[in-house]
């Protein structure tokens, strides 16, 4: 049973990293500064591919959550959501919040030297707000493996 728990846990870590990375690669190239640069065309393709991978990964997450895990025994389900996982999730959310605050501070400093549109600022903050907790959760789960 621990093998199944470890397997699902490893898959969840991988999925978190994929979701975080593809979300960043989807959002960052859509920033006006990058869109209007020489990197624009490649960035657009990268964003498109990342968006597809992100969508498929989200689908995999839903399928894994609704199909495979309910099939597993209640004991396995409990192990996958035990108090260490809950603690790691809470720490990851805290890390995400802290990262976002630091990033907003950096953006404040950057906007003193260059102009960034409101839409770009919102996109950047959203990207960090989504990716940072996912990376943090994956890191904490991996560290404890």
């Amino acid at each position: 049973m621990q093998d199944i728990v470890d397997k699902f846990s490893q898959r969840r870590i991988l999925l978190m990293v994929i979701l975080a990375s593809t979300f960043l690669l989807w959002q960052i190239p859509r920033i006006e500064l990058i869109e209007n640069s020489n990197f624009g065309v490649i960035g657009e393709r990268l964003a498109g591919i990342s968006q597809i991978i992100w969508s498929l990964s989200m689908l995999a997450l839903v399928v894994m959550g609704r199909k495979h895990i309910p099939r597993a025994s209640l004991e396995t389900q409990a192990m996958l959501e035990d108090e260490l996982v809950k603690s790691n999730r809470a720490k990851a959310m805290g890390t995400g919040y802290f990262s976002l605050m630091v990033f907003i501070g950096l953006l404040f400093a950057i906007t003193r030297f260059m102009e960034i549109s409101g839409a770009d600022l919102a996109r950047l903050m959203m990207a960090i707000g989504v990716a940072a907790p996912l990376y943090a959760f994956a890191f904490l789960e991996r560290r404890n493996a």
Binding site: V5, M79, L84, V85, E141
Partner: protein, 70 residues
Amino acid sequence: MPDHKELRNRLNGYRKEAGLTQADLAKQVHVSRKTINTVENGVFIPSTILALKLAKALNVSVEELFQLPD
């Protein structure tokens, strides 16, 4: 980094004394092997409920498993 540097736990010793692997103990208390590993290494401090379950599974008191220095 450990959650609480001063907390001493003797989970590893009692578990081995009972002839259990981390996976065996994890199954008995309904947590993952990782959780047992992190508790043994002092990385994660278990809840009161889990500490009581661990003590019961190993047939010792919670105070024997977890101690704060005087």
